[in-house]
């Protein structure tokens, strides 16, 4: 599918820039503006709603439910915003390490080679025959 033309509805137009076509990828990456609290609240409610979870099950405001102790939805939203800003940002920024002295052009391809392991200690029992 060809990319949509600049200005297509639903997609922001590319900003005008003086960066030459030959510049490294990092140089033309424009960091997005950090999301506001309102942005995150919308994200949180929408993501949970997609999974069928309605935050309005919790008490309104910041007062916990007197019987169950479950927190008010404003308290939960504040905690979830902090979680997204801290955990998602840190994990997303992490690049898996490569050997010292690796050619900068090879850093990303080499960092891609490390596999995920749910149970790393168990993996040590796998043996070559």
């Amino acid at each position: 599918m060809p990319p949509p033309a600049p200005g297509t509805p639903g997609r922001a137009a590319a900003p005008a820039t003086d960066i030459p076509d030959t510049a490294p990828l990092e140089a033309i990456a424009v960091p997005p503006a950090p999301p506001t609290d309102a942005d995150l609240d919308t994200l949180i409610r929408a993501r949970l709603a997609l999974a069928g979870i309605d935050l309005d099950q919790l008490p309104p405001g910041t007062r916990p439910d007197p019987v169950t102790g479950s927190p008010g939805r404003d308290t939960v939203l504040a905690s979830l915003r902090a979680f997204l800003r801290g955990t998602v940002t840190t994990l997303s920024a992490y690049q898996l390490p490569v050997p010292a002295g690796t050619d900068p052009a090879h850093v990303v391809p080499l960092s891609q080679q490390r596999a995920p392991l749910l149970y790393p200690s168990i993996s040590t029992a796998w043996r070559a025959s």
Binding site: V76, S79, F83, Y94, L117, S121, T124
Partner: protein, 557 residues
């Protein structure tokens, strides 16, 4: 109580590097479609059968100390087993002694959710007539309330499971019972295994047996009830689960020896999940030998939990925990280099002083040597709160049906489950990839040492490595100080050998808390004493304090 050193520990019989070599080989051959399936090549002699005690080179039966003969609730498993095997102690009498004590002190400790006194007595009568020839025969146990127990409610201290009666025992419980263990009761825990034991709404229930009048003293993580029960002499030994320190934490806080085994050593089948890749079942015990006996019964492959299959065989844990003497002097069973990380003894606190004394005592045992080891690169980052949070989707996913229908039923703990539902799959994968990086760096550490001291449990919880907690002293206020040793995969035997040698030259592990003041004469206040033959816990007392949802987020494992 001596034994020959025997074969080497399991950690040095497994070529732990082979996986990395193998991974490279597979990567090279997969493109050509010629990769063979991985297989296990274990270099050692066969260990004992899973969950069995036959063939051990150790001594799981010990003559009791005089103080334990005066009060049989003080007996260790090994001591009680010695008496039962000799026909000098009837399991029914042992259960009755615990029920009597529970009747006196449980209103203060609040260690149990449920005491199955009648059932335990019936089991004890049966086992008194005939039972398996194991050291666990007739031993009353405290079982954390997230382990399924057939016919007994299993609540995980949550509204979600308040009426749940499991259809079967958890594999670990079934194995303990098959070895002759008696489920005396189900113990209080943090709601769904998140924090110290509280009611689902955060009201504090269980107190430390070492500070029964002060609920603000932290009795350790979510296996609190088991710890208080074992330390307070309400059961001979207990079970816990650890996702973020909940075996080692309560053990350190209550002067016990706790063993969190390698991931997969003990089946998780029939244990209410908190985090699939991080939950570890294991024992909280009074000393290294009791921990070895408990883990011997609990460990081994289980067809219902694939994480337990294809692993090196369980070592001879009882032999590992049997002290070794040379010319009547204690020595280590195997030469062991104890790694010391930077800052472990730093400061002027009682904990720092106890750690220095601990290292000095270890260093004086023939066969032990101390080596300074550096912390792996990116240690703070890869073991810090954000990478620790990678576990959270594992609690959200299996609880989706509950999250959709009744958020309030999660009580004070709900926030962690919602956090997990927000983490993206790509961030989750980054976390799983980082685990291998962390593991490789920790394995590099073990090129320099065989065990390593720790200042916290999380790093080895993240990558599933074994840890042992043991007592090393007390504060001026009389509260226990403990420490944690970590080891490479499957090195539970090495950890037990170090703990056994240390406990052979020290007596911290033999100290017990005084009875709660109101019951110190052996009688409970008239209004407090209860008959616990078939009883559930009393309603929690809000005067003990209450954790808020914000505190739970900060403390949750």
């Amino acid at each position: 109580m001596t034994a020959a050193a025997g074969p080497g520990p399991v950690d040095r019989l497994v070529d732990r590097r082979s996986f990395l070599v193998r991974a490279a080989a597979v990567a090279g051959t997969t493109a050509a479609g010629a990769a063979a399936l991985p297989s296990i090549a274990y270099a050692g002699a066969p260990a004992q059968p899973p969950g069995g005690f036959r063939g051990t080179r150790g001594t799981p039966y010990r003559p009791p100390r005089p103080e334990a003969l005066r009060d049989i609730t003080e007996l260790t498993i090994a001591e009680a087993a010695w008496l039962i095997r000799a026909g000098r102690l009837d399991p029914e009498r042992l259960v009755e002694a615990y029920l009597d004590r529970i009747g006196v002190v449980e209103p203060v400790y609040q260690a149990f959710n449920l005491v199955a006194g009648d059932r335990a007595l019936a089991e004890a009568r049966r086992l008194g007539r005939r039972g398996p020839r194991t050291p666990l025969r007739g031993i009353p146990l405290a079982v954390k309330d997230n382990y399924w127990t057939a016919g007994l409610r299993t609540t995980a201290n949550s509204y979600l499971f308040q009426d749940f009666v499991p259809p079967s025992d958890a594999t670990a419980v079934a194995r303990l019972r098959a070895a002759g263990g008696i489920v005396l009761g189900k113990t209080q825990m943090g709601p769904l295994a998140t924090t110290r034991a509280t009611a689902p709404n955060g009201v504090i229930t269980t107190v430390s047996a070492w500070a029964p009048t002060d609920p603000s003293v932290d009795p350790g993580g979510s296996s609190t009830g088991s710890a208080t029960a074992v330390a307070g002499r309400l059961a001979t030994s207990g079970t816990g689960t650890q996702t973020g320190g909940s075996i080692t934490g309560p053990s350190n806080a209550q002067n016990l020896t706790g063993l969190k085994p390698t991931m997969g050593r003990v089946s998780l089948y029939g244990i209410i999940p908190l985090s699939y890749t991080r939950d570890h079942p294991g024992p909280l015990a009074r000393d290294a030998m009791d921990a070895a006996i408990m883990l011997t019964a609990m460990a081994g492959p289980d067809r219902r939990d694939p994480r337990t299959q294809g692993l090196p065989p369980v070592g001879d844990l009882v032999a590992a925990a049997t002290p070794v003497r040379a010319n009547r002097r204690p020595r280590l069973r195997w030469r062991t280099r104890v790694g010391v990380i930077p800052g472990y003894t730093a400061g002027a606190t009682p904990t720092a002083a106890a750690r220095r004394a601990f290292l000095a005592a270890l260093d004086a045992i023939p066969g032990a040597s101390l080596v300074d080891v550096p912390l792996p690169a990116e240690w703070e980052l890869l073991t810090g709160p954000e990478f620790n949070n990678v576990r959270l989707p594992e609690r959200s996913e299996p609880f989706k049906p509950y999250l959709r229908t009744d958020l309030r039923a999660f009580g004070v703990s709900v926030t962690g489950w919602l956090q997990g539902a927000l983490l993206g799959a790509d961030e989750y994968l980054t976390g799983q990839r980082a685990k291998l990086v962390l593991l490789e760096r920790v394995l590099d550490l073990f090129d320099r040492c065989d065990v390593v001291v720790q200042t916290g449990p999380l790093p080895f919880d993240i990558i599933g490595l074994p840890e042992l907690a043991l007592p090393i002293g007390f504060t001026a206020a009389g509260l226990p100080i403990g420490t944690i040793l970590g080891a490479p995969p499957y090195a539970e035997d090495r950890l037990l050998a170090v703990a056994a040698a240390y406990q052979d030259v020290t007596d911290w592990h033999l100290r017990r808390p005084a009875d709660p003041p109101a019951t110190a004469d052996g009688r409970a206040p008239r209004t407090a004493r209860r008959d616990w033959r078939t009883a559930t816990a009393a309603a929690p007392d809000p005067r003990r304090g209450r954790l808020t949802a914000e505190e739970v987020v900060r403390r949750m494992q």
